[in-house]
């Protein structure tokens, strides 16, 4: 295969997660940022970041040459 698709997916969600987490942290406590009582930007941003890093880790593992 030409390109491991997990690399762009991992990169995208890592950056997206960072953006949302940072924005959620900066706006914490501001009215209208916690639907149903959940600071959702912060929480979901962190989840997206973890997902993105996991995809990058899987891509990196797949690129490593296997042991003889």
């Amino acid at each position: 295969m030409s390109l491991d698709v997990r690399l762009p997916i991992g990169g995208f969600f890592s950056l997206l997660g960072l953006l949302l987490t940072g924005y959620g942290w900066a706006t914490l406590g501001t009215p209208g940022t916690a639907p149903a009582g959940v600071p959702i930007d912060l929480v979901w941003g962190a989840a997206l970041f973890v997902f993105g890093v996991a995809m990058l880790a899987l891509a990196r593992r797949a690129r490593k040459p296997s042991n003889p």
Binding site: M1, S2, V5, I9, F13, L19, P35, A36, V38, L48
Partner: protein
């Protein structure tokens, strides 16, 4: 109208940057027409599997199934657990060996190998026209929605979305489309998952949703569980909101329409054909079936939730149109008034006043159920993610259509009838030109839809007539070696005509004669439009099946040696020893079917 913040635009720009970046990164691997149209048949199964389901995850899925969720409740899950999974299992186990094993480059090309040139031409021409017009309809829906929700320019919205899709397919062909479909798959799943979580949390979980919809059901004359149980009320068309009885549902949707789409539509089959082995091609629809059977929770639940959430429970003030029709406070629900939640009324395009049905009740704009829930619950930041997921659904659907179109045009029409025997580089260049032309026609079709809505309704109707009998032709062609080319062609034409005649002689209850049917005289009426669609499909399929058999019996079949690799019984059974037992197609199929049965039982 909602105004977006800088963070929402940043999310969208990030997405566009990665989508275009994938196209640019993949471009250097495209050297031949097979690389461009078939990804060099080098993609692993998990990637083609997610692309298989993502190509179908267009706007009709996300917006349409949300709308159906609001209109029909959990019975909409029949479009997945009855109307998709069995067909996906069937194509993976039984049909893919012929598609992939024959080395056909497209579904119409398989028809040429199995039958003859005229059958291929009929399928290729109708498919090419249908794909670009479907793409245009999707583009139109996107432009209209973004204009309505965000006040964005219709022209700019469709030009930007179409331009991005054009750029990444032009650069990287099918590989670029497939990789982006995988990205779009995760984006849609991860963009809509928090919506369901927040919605359920706001209404008190599943039990809270059941209680609220029970009131809605009784207010509409149904039993309390009619919106939250999928099978219990399917005994008669009048006892469920879908207006269909179980036989019409299982035969029309579960067999004819479902198998006709999932097993013969090149848009999805092309993803499996790009897989790197026969086993990977067979696993593709089976891997796709796992997320597919869970999609009802992602795309149907938002529609159901939008119908019952309180307009004051979100992060923004309710839109005027919503609050004026909404009756979702606990008091009003218990008073028996029909709940509308945050689903706004459908407005008369000329007067701007809410539309009312024959009984005087306000007609709701169900297509806005899911978008309104996004605006209701998502604050700045996550709103950007949700809207980008919505954009991704439009773009993945469009990209699927465009890649299928450029392949069928180049291989099945241009190479076959216009310029055969040219060097491969010529067809690669033609593929890129066809991509450009496909996107341009899609944009033109979007403007046609914007100007003459009935024309698009009419075209969709014709597409349905063409699609309905297709599975009979493929099933007989693959599993009965006696089937002949003349019979396949005649059967397809007869099936399409039968669909048109049945539709012309029937009408859904309450509909006016015209594009909804009855144009040949109203002989019968159906309780709902869906019931009419399902029965039209049954008639078309049966006609095609019978005519194909009869004509086959009086025409000369091809010699068996010419049918090797194309027909069951003349093709060696594939052996899947390259993967572990738990990864084999049969194992996956058993697990998929078992989970589907369990899901049907849980929501029975």
């Amino acid at each position: 109208m909602t105004t977006l913040g800088w963070v929402d635009y940043a999310v969208m720009l990030l997405y566009f940057a990665f989508v275009l970046g994938i196209g640019a990164a993949v471009r250097r691997y495209v050297h031949t027409s097979e690389d461009f149209f078939l990804s060099g048949r080098a993609i692993p199964a998990w990637v083609t599997g997610l692309a298989f389901v993502s190509a179908n995850l267009g706007a009709q899925e996300v917006i349409g199934m949300g709308a159906s969720g609001a209109k029909y409740g959990i019975a909409t899950s029949h479009f997945y657990w009855v109307g998709a999974i069995p067909a996906m299992v069937f194509i993976g186990l039984f049909m893919m060996p012929f598609y992939y094993g024959s080395r056909a480059r497209s579904v119409p090309e398989y028809l040429k190998l199995r039958f003859d040139e005229k059958t291929r031409a009929l399928n290729a021409v109708s498919f090419a026209i249908m794909t670009v017009f479907s793409s245009g309809i999707s583009l139109y829906a996107m432009g209209k929605l973004l204009n309505l929700l965000l006040g964005w320019s219709f022209d700019l919205s469709i030009l930007v979305a179409a331009g991005v899709v054009l750029a990444y397919i032009f650069l990287g062909g099918l590989t670029s489309a497939i990789y982006n479909e995988v990205l779009q798959f995760f984006l849609i799943v991860l963009g809509f998952a928090p919506l369901v979580f927040l919605g359920l949390r706001a209404v008190g979980g599943w039990s809270g949703l059941v209680a609220r919809l029970a009131d809605h059901a009784t207010a509409n004359g149904f039993a309390p569980g009619a919106y939250t149980r999928s099978w219990a009320f399917m005994g008669h068309a009048s006892t469920n909101p879908v207006g269909v009885e179980w036989f019409g549902l299982v035969m029309g949707l579960g067999f004819v329409l479902s198998f006709g789409y999932w097993c013969t539509d090149f848009l999805v089959v092309q993803r499996a054909m790009a897989a790197n082995s026969m086993t990977a091609a067979r696993r593709t629809p089976l891997i796709a079936a796992f997320p597919k059977m869970l999609f009802p929770f992602l795309v149907i639940l938002p529609g159901m939730l939008a119908l019952v959430v309180s307009p004051t429970s979100g992060v923004r003030a309710a839109a005027p149109g919503v609050s004026s029709t909404s009756t979702t406070s606990p008091t009003s629900i218990t008073s028996g008034a029909p709940a509308a939640g945050i689903v706004p009324p459908k407005l008369d395009p000329r007067t701007g006043a809410p539309l009312r049905d024959a009984s005087g009740a306000v007609v709701l704009d169900y297509d806005l159920a899911t978008p309104m829930l996004l605006l209701h619950f998502f604050p700045a930041g996550l709103l950007g993610l949700g809207l980008t997921a919505l954009l991704a659904s439009f773009m993945s659907g469009m990209a699927g259509n465009v890649t299928a179109f450029n392949t069928v045009w180049t291989y099945d029409l241009y190479q076959s009838y216009v310029r055969p025997g040219a060097p491969d580089a010529h067809y690669l260049a033609m593929g890129r030109f066809a991509t450009l032309a496909g996107v341009a026609i899609s944009i033109a079709a979007a403007y046609v839809a914007a100007s003459f809505n009935n024309i698009m309704d009419f075209l969709q109707l014709v597409f349905a007539f063409v699609n309905a009998p297709l599975f009979a032709t493929f099933a007989l062609g693959m599993f009965w070696k006696r089937t002949t080319g003349h019979a396949a062609f005649t059967g397809l034409v007869a099936g399409t005509l039968a669909a048109a005649v049945h539709h012309g002689l029937s009408l859904p209850a309450g509909a006016a004669v015209g594009v909804k049917g009855g144009y040949l005289g109203v002989v019968t009426t159906f309780p709902s439009e869906l019931a009419q669609t399902f029965w039209t499909a049954i008639v078309a399929w049966t006609t095609c099946f019978v005519v194909t058999i009869l004509v086959s019996l009086v025409t000369r079949p091809r010699a068996p040696e010419q049918l090797r690799g194309l027909v069951y019984g003349l093709t060696p059974q594939p052996v899947d020893t390259a993967v572990s037992w738990f990864q084999r197609p049969v194992t996956l199929a058993v697990v998929v079917l078992a989970v589907t049965v369990i899901l049907n039982a849980v929501f029975f």
